[in-house]
Symmetry: C2
Subunit: 391 residues, 2 copies
């Protein structure tokens, strides 16, 4: 091994301790990827002189090419082209404004993009991300506006018998305003944890931007962990850096999250300056978190004036119907339901849920969009839902 | 789609189109890696049936094998062995208790471990991490102890003309105790940013654990960005998800960070319950941040009773010497210097700095350890330094 390849520079930069290696920290691969071009097309680059095939796989792949690789297996993989310099490249068609995720497939092996240090974990999987702006996703960017704070802290749940990790967004000015604020409880889906809305959900950026634009009221956003088997997101608990698994992380006691949500409310209301009444509380969630929101809001009577059900549904026995009716009889400001037309996971149950609400004469606001059971929907729904709150 | 497995739920959440290819690419691997075994050896696994060679590269590699790959370039790469199932494996010798980082090299291409979702970004590079416990690194783990809070917020720097991101650790109980606390300002190195001590530094875990053990006083820890060209860590500012580069991120105005550190102090002291006197302020940093600590503490007179210089040095003209002498004449509780014997980047300057202190008759505490200019030192130094503060 005589020649110092770019790869080795990269590795040395990470692990060795010489001046040269430190300098390589700033060199490494002289490649930029993923680059969002002026026309909203995106260029991917990957150095692999000896690879036989390199493709990019991402949640834009079905719309990024006029002729995507066909068939069941090929969908979502776009072949890249190798240049004389050993760099594989691909430039997509212009993409919709959105936050996208991707990986490379190199000779059949999935890998992150070494030239893109921005990665998010979703359950057990890490992927690269990028944002295409000039549209909806400008809300997902950090912009030059007043920034709120995001606090990772722990609340005591006597009901669940453990301290649990929780993320709290406070709007810009909270620390010094002396004011009291309304609260949105924002819940994640089955594959997620308390970090999901922070990472893929871009909740901090969406709130910063909507508040700065005067579209949303300054509010506190509380993101907790809906899996009662977990004290915190993987890697953030005393379980250490284990591989997330259904067995370890999803062994939830039925209804335990809903039943013990009072511990969350109690923590928030005793540690933050909030207005502790129904008119200043909202609860919303995606998928499983939408079910949680429906069930918490109907069983905690006169607690929430605003409810958001994103790509979800709820159902139950006669007691369910009775409590739902009572929730609406007690009065509430907004019961908001959003779902994608291609959400084959939830669409049918969501339709049944809406039919139930219709048949019971219960008013709700409904938003139907393109797409399936994906973050694209949930970021949009959050940015549509929050401007309706606390007005 | 008849049966909806958990995996498919996950894939649905990640990508709109569920396909067999994506299952294989994004989640189908029933493999655990890296696994820390009972004897502190570590087993790596990587599925790549068609690969010609797979190695693991990590900061443990030089001590993990009796016969590591030799030479300057080769150090740090350990070949893995392919099994009949297409899974490449390697089990190391028992490793010292530490937080380690690694990547795989697959046919000459560096890749993250798809079965380890725990990754940290260091400047422009992402790598996997794992912790070997049963020793020093138990301090780096999240343990079942009372947890402090970590807040990502923004402070106004009139001097630098921008809002800047800052990370604040408050100890367990801060929210409800009503007490005032001492403050440690903890500064990063040249390649870092305000997130560095949170990620590789494990400052939150070290403080939680030392405080729980009664070894360190409950304190607030302030981690800010020492590069005045940046408003925040890459990806956290209005520059978006750009590729970090020396040109963009390190175009600092000389002395601007030191000169405007008063904005940081002012923010902290007006937003947190602190004791605003010298006896309750400490400042420490690694490498560049150690230089910052030396210079801030000598130029902000009677502000800090505790100073920590990790793998660093400071020097200057006669004004430097005079202010250093004055700092010690004014009195301070602790001037702590730590460095690794193999730190070829700083060792010589550090020696000169200590000789200067010696020749001027200025007392300091000195810790010399193994290793070079690496995180292994800095986590250890933080865990040695903090128990000495505010006693």
């Amino acid at each position: 091994m005589k020649k110092l390849t770019i790869l080795m520079c990269l590795l040395l930069a990470m692990f060795a301790n010489t001046t040269k290696a430190q300098q390589n920290l700033f060199g490494g691969q002289d490649i930029e990827s993923a680059v969002v071009n002026d026309d909203n097309s995106v260029t991917f680059r990957f150095l692999a002189p000896d690879a036989k095939s390199v493709s990019v796989a991402g949640d834009f792949a079905d719309v990024a090419e006029d002729n995507p690789v066909g068939g069941v297996v090929g969908t979502g993989l776009i072949p890249m082209t190798k240049g004389a310099d050993g760099v594989w490249t691909l430039t997509t068609k212009p993409l919709d404004s959105e936050l996208y995720m991707y990986l490379f497939e190199v000779d059949g092996v999935a890998t992150t993009d070494p030239n893109n240090p921005y990665v998010y974990r979703d359950f057990a999987i890490v992927s690269n991300i990028f944002i295409v702006g000039n549209g909806q996703a400008d809300l997902y960017k950090v912009n030059d506006v007043p920034h709120g704070s995001l606090t990772h802290c722990w609340y005591d749940s006597p009901g669940l018998g453990m301290d649990r990790r929780i993320n709290i967004y406070t709007p810009a000015g909270y620390e010094t305003s002396g004011k009291k604020y309304p609260v949105l409880y924002l819940l994640h889906g089955f594959g997620g944890d308390e970090d999901e809305w922070v990472n893929f959900g871009r909740a901090t950026q969406i709130l910063d931007n909507l508040i700065a634009q005067g579209k949303a009221e300054p509010m506190i956003v509380v993101m907790t962990n809906g899996h009662t088997a977990m004290e915190a997101a993987p890697g953030e608990s005393s379980m250490g850096f284990y591989k997330p698994s259904r067995e370890k992380d999803r062994a939830d006691v039925p209804n335990a999250f809903v039943d013990n949500f009072k511990d969350v409310i109690s923590f928030v209301e005793s540690n933050y300056r909030i207005v502790p009444d129904k008119a200043h509380r909202a609860i919303a969630g995606l998928s499983m978190g939408g079910g949680h929101s429906a069930n918490i809001s109907r069983t905690y009577e006169n607690t929430f004036d605003y409810v958001g059900i994103f790509s979800s549904a709820a159902s139950g026995d006669e007691e369910f119907d009775a409590s739902l009716k009572k929730q609406f009889d007690n009065g509430l400001e907004l019961y908001w339901i959003g779902i994608g037309r291609e959400d084959y996971l939830v669409l049918e149950n969501n339709k049944k849920f809406r039919e139930k609400l219709d048949s019971m004469g219960l008013d709700y606001t409904y938003m139907e969009t393109d797409w399936g059971h994906v973050w694209k929907c949930w970021r949009l729904y959050l940015s549509e839902f929050t401007p309706l709150l606390f007005k």
